[in-house]
Every structure is written in structure tokens, then in C-alpha cells.
Amino acid sequence: MGSIKQIPVVEAKRTNPLARVFDDLVRFCRSRSLFILHYCTGCGAIELPPAMTSRFDMERLGIQPMVSPRQADILLITGYVSIKTLKRVILTYEQMGSPKYVIGICSCTVNGGMYWQSYATAKKLDEYMPVDLYIAGCMPRPEAVIAGLQQLMDKIHSGEASSWEDYYRNYDYYLGNQQKLFGEDWQTPTDVISEAKHYDLLSEGTLGDHTRLLEQHQKPLEALEMRLGHEQEEPAK
């Protein structure tokens, strides 16, 4: 058998006249089954339990919490993001499968909120990753959260919620902002450029000065060392 690279890849062409109808159906279904990964970064997270549980009951909209980024559709950032956390948020965001949506809850994600003067928090979330929807407030009530989620559902259905494509199209811009904050040797385990190629979203903004800088500093990834507890000790007899 030849290697996997030799298998020719056939470009899919949309020739079916029913494709539009089918797309619409897909978007409808997509908007009705959303899994959220709530990255509870700040105090706004406290409004999520009532939004999820029986009082306001998010599940009647088909929205449920999910435990892992790989299976989640929505990344919910609930409040101020410290610079240390932002790194983890970006790692998480990049690990989510497309299509993915980001909601910034709380004023802190919009412009820094009451922590605008803090050395430790990032101010504008949409500089580091594309945000579909902001729910402002300090903190927004569960009604506002639910209204925001409904808006997102409408946006997904109408096809407007395509900010995840923006991350691939303008990766250089986002990477530039990340590098400015985290230093030049900032690197994530996800190969965003190859993913952009995979989704056929490679465009002018994908590559640029910052991705070149990334290539210079990039270190090959190694598997994480597995460790249980502290140093392994001999079990006591």
C-alpha cells in the first residue's frame, strides 16, 4: 500500500441544486443543539447556575453544558480574563472543533469593566479571538444571558455567526495581539494555519509578519510527561 499522501484528494464541488435548502436545514439543526463550554473566568459565572437550572432552564433552548472543548460549540467567557487565564482560553478555543462561537459575558470582556486599570487582566477579548456576541452588564442577569443565547441561535440560523472563520482568515492579526501580550515565543499546540487550509479559509490575513515570527520561534511539540502525584515512591510494605 502506498502512503496516505498518495491517495488523491477530490475537491468537493457544490453542484446539487438542493444544497441551499440542505444548508439551511443544517444551520437550523445546528442552532437547536448547542453545547456550551463555560470557561468561568470571573465573577459573572455566578449567573450561569440559575440560567442553567430549573428557574430559567437553558435546556429548553437545546443548550447544555459540555465538559470538553472538543465537543463544545460555544465558548462562554464569563467575566474578566487575566493574562494568565487568557493563554488557557486561547488554547481551549483553538482546540474546539469548527464551527465554534464565542460569547463574552460581562462588561469586563468588552472593555475591561471595573478592572480596566488592572495590570493583570486583558481588556478587549475580541483582540485575541473573534467574539460573536457580547452580553454586557456587571453582571448580566440570567434573563439577559438567555436573551443573548437566543440571539446567537438566530444568528447561527441566518448564517451570520461566522466569526470562527474570521480567526482563520485573520489569524495574523490575532496572533499579533497575542504575541504582543505574551511575548514573541508564544506558541499553541494547535496548527491553525493547516486548519485554515483544511477549511479552505486561507486568505491574505492568515499569513503575515506574526506568523513568520511564530515559525522562527516554534518548537516541535512533545508529549506531556505523565506524572501521578509527587515523585513515585516505593509503596510501604
Partner: protein, 189 residues
């Protein structure tokens, strides 16, 4: 019974030279001591008066006086009272003794203060970074660190823009912030 203990405490504290005792309330005592007398005071309080719980060490930066104030809060489970021992140390070089050998939880407090104020505690078991592991700027709680200048240099942020809210206001909600109430640093001079 608590009266007895407080009298007894007064006698005990009088053993330390240069001490100023101020009774804040029936269960709170503030003492000011010279920095070199603090270990002896804590030893007395712990060993002879039952103040076995060091609940916090706090730090204040008095930049104009060129001093750091360290406050050791110790609690007694017997007399249910709190003694706060205040000391002042020079801002430069900002070195003090660790009380880890008396109160082991001091290790965390001292590490935290070291990280936030840059004070070095001699004899503390670990002076590594604690929470700000990815921070390489100056200790951020020192008064000379200008947080606003730092964010203006490193981060971009935006003021509230009343125009954003017009849509909301049209729907019958929202609050408009008039320009004179907007954040001072962004106001046009």
C-alpha cells in the same frame, strides 16, 4: 473570665521594650513594636498567651515615609481575641526576618508579600513566584508601580461609548453616560 486574660495579657506585653498597646475593642488589641522586637513578642504571645493562629500578614507601602508596614494578626482560640502587631521596616533594602519557625503558615503569606511588594524574608522556606508565575514586571503592589501607565503601554482598552447604547435606549432600556461622567484618563483635556 475574659477580663482576667486581658489583664494578664497587659502584664505580658509590658515585658517588651518600646511597645505601644492600643485596645481597639474588647477583643481586638493593636500593638506597635520596633521591628527587632517582633519575634520576641510573637514568641511570647504564642508560647504564653495561647495566640497560636497566625491568620494573616498584611503589608502597607508608605512610600512618602519610605517605609513598609507589616501587620501580623494572631488569634487566640482561648480568649477569642485578635492581636495585630504592627512594625515598620525601611523600604530599602526591604528585608525582614521570617517568622516561619514560629508560625508555619507564614511561609505562604511571606511568599505572597515578597511577590507583591518585593520584600525579602530571611529564612522563609520559599521565595519563588506564587500566583504571578507568568509576570515579569516589578512587584505590582508597590506604590511606585503605575498600573495605569502600564496598561496604556501594554494593553488597549476602550471607554464606554454612549453611542453603543442608543440602540438599547431606543428599545426602552440602557443608561447613557454623559461625557462629564466618563473615565477621567480618557477624557479629552
Amino acid at each position: 473570665m475574659s477580663k482576667e486574660i486581658t489583664h494578664w495579657l497587659d502584664d505580658l506585653l509590658a515585658e517588651i521594650e518600646g511597645i505601644v498597646v492600643r485596645r481597639k475593642s474588647s477583643r481586638r488589641v493593636r500593638v506597635d513594636v520596633p521591628a527587632d522586637a517582633l519575634p520576641a513578642l510573637l514568641e511570647l504571645l504564642q508560647g504564653r498567651a495561647g495566640y497560636i493562629h497566625l491568620s494573616a500578614i498584611s503589608c502597607v507601602d508608605w512610600i512618602k515615609e519610605d517605609e513598609f508596614e507589616l501587620v501580623y494578626h494572631v488569634w487566640s482560640y482561648e480568649s477569642h481575641s485578635l492581636v495585630s502587631a504592627h512594625i515598620r521596616i525601611a523600604r530599602e533594602p526591604g528585608v525582614y526576618l521570617s517568622v516561619y519557625d514560629l508560625y508555619q503558615p507564614a511561609a505562604f503569606f511571606e511568599r505572597d508579600i515578597h511577590e507583591m511588594y518585593g520584600i525579602h524574608f530571611e529564612g522563609s522556606p520559599n521565595m519563588e513566584k506564587f500566583i504571578l508565575t507568568e509576570w515579569d514586571g516589578p512587584p505590582p503592589m508597590r506604590k511606585e508601580f503605575d498600573s495605569e501607565a502600564y496598561i496604556n503601554e501594554h494593553l488597549s482598552w476602550q471607554n464606554y461609548n454612549p453611542e453603543w447604547l442608543q440602540e438599547l435606549v431606543a428599545e426602552g432600556g440602557g443608561v447613557i453616560i454623559p461625557p462629564e461622567e466618563q473615565r477621567f484618563s480618557q477624557k479629552k483635556k
